[in-house]
Symmetry: none
Subunit: 261 residues, 2 copies
């Protein structure tokens, strides 16, 4: 079977899932017509699928307007998905330790869909809000953890992901493919990556690779915060804690560092 032909007999399900994915942070509430247009479905069909999704709690409707939005069951599902990931279990205590130690926000990220997906997050003591970014995806070339995830990729996989143009989020974003490859080489050599206001002005972070028992890099751990606090010499103080946390997690995943040089 060709790899991206839809599996036969799944049209309705695929359409329903596409509807679910239409809800974004930018447009979290949509009405029937908007949804039908966005996914190019007949209004009636969209309505029927939405009714099914609603009956199972995956979407709800604002009581006043009758706009649809993602529902409680989606939240519960996401929670179960996070907890099912055993990476999450192992990383939790290390994230807490890292956040406590540095007073900055610590996250673990995995590669998902050519982006960096935040699996878990602990806010540093400077921030009140909790886990605002779990489940969010970030561009790989503009974050410290993203660069980690890229840097250790096998060449073929890397080539597939490194395609121009690289969106410039700030004046610091690396936008040239050669410059990025250069940076990734440095990252590999150092064993950590720094994200210096490349995604957002005012945000600086440090990331390090998490390896499984085969030595494959399966995730990245990072800490970051406001550039107002993290002046250059302070950023450097984050490197060791992050690398140590990454090493301890990797060890728990069965990774044994090679002794030789």
């Amino acid at each position: 079977m060709s790899s991206n032909e839809p599996y036969p007999g799944t049209q309705a399900v695929l359409r329903a899932l596409t509807l679910l994915k239409t809800f974004t942070d930018e447009k979290p509430e949509l009405n029937l017509i908007e949804l039908a247009q966005a996914v190019d479905l007949n209004k009636t069909t969209a309505y029927r699928l939405l009714t099914a999704l609603e009956s199972e709690g995956l979407i709800t409707r604002a009581s006043e307007s009758d706009a649809y939005r993602l529902g409680p069951e989606a939240i519960a599902l996401g929670g179960r998905a996070v907890r099912a990931n055993n990476l999450h279990k192992v990383c939790r205590p290390e994230l807490e330790r890292l956040a406590a130690q540095t007073k900055e926000t610590a996250t673990i990220e995995v590669l998902s869909d050519a982006q960096s997906l935040t699996l878990d997050e602990i806010s540093g003591s400077y921030v009140v809000g909790v886990s605002r970014y779990i489940g969010t995806r970030w561009p790989l070339h503009a974050t410290s953890t993203g660069k980690i995830l890229l840097a250790y990729l096998p060449p073929v996989a890397l080539d597939a992901l490194l395609v121009a143009p690289l969106t410039a989020y700030t004046p610091h974003t690396i936008t040239s493919l050669t410059a990025l490859r250069q940076e990734l080489a440095t990252v590999c050599e150092q064993g950590y990556a720094i994200g210096n206001e490349e995604l957002e002005i005012g945000f600086i972070s440090v990331g390090a690779p998490i390896r499984d028992h085969n030595g494959a890099v399966v995730a990245a751990i990072g800490v970051g915060g406001s550039s107002a606090r993290l002046r250059e010499e302070i950023v450097f103080e984050l490197i060791d804690p992050v690398k140590s946390a990454a090493r301890r997690i990797s060890e728990q995943l069965g990774y044994r560092e090679l002794i030789e040089k």
Copy 2:
């Protein structure tokens, strides 16, 4: 249309969603046969639906075994659902309902800056003015909602907030730290708090905890009014409505009460 007959033309979608819900914290990894049996589906049908879910990233398979588990897209979906269902949106209709039902004034409050901050308010029919207190902060130890917010705090955080002296606003205000700790224990046990003219003579209220998808208490909901109306037996009639409203809001935030005893 009868209310719990499935909407026609949605069999496949409903079956797919049922499959998704089969993954739990206790059994986060399932193989084809287990899944098919659990939801009483033909093996082939289950397989086809799973393939569709997998192709959209809602489920993945452990690379070694070929067991299914919830995938990254489920995490991403959950994240978006959390952000789309903020407290304010979810609470609004429940506040209105509570105010209509009890004819008293209903509010939601969150912890902010060692005080209880009124996020939203709906006046009951007995009160003339409307939402006079949105954005106001109240002492934690002298209100029903404040005591709720304290009662479920982790010990360390509680210790940081419980510092003498506790200002006496009325003769009923709890001013001893030990008495307050005692009261908070009772509140936890009961699942509601009563504020009996502790902030202001003539004002009585009942509060209950609102939990997010992690089970953490993130807000409190309360109703209250004049002690002239709310004689003891009437106050007790508020408890159930408030607790129910809190429970419904929590459910919408993705909280799933534990089933076990």
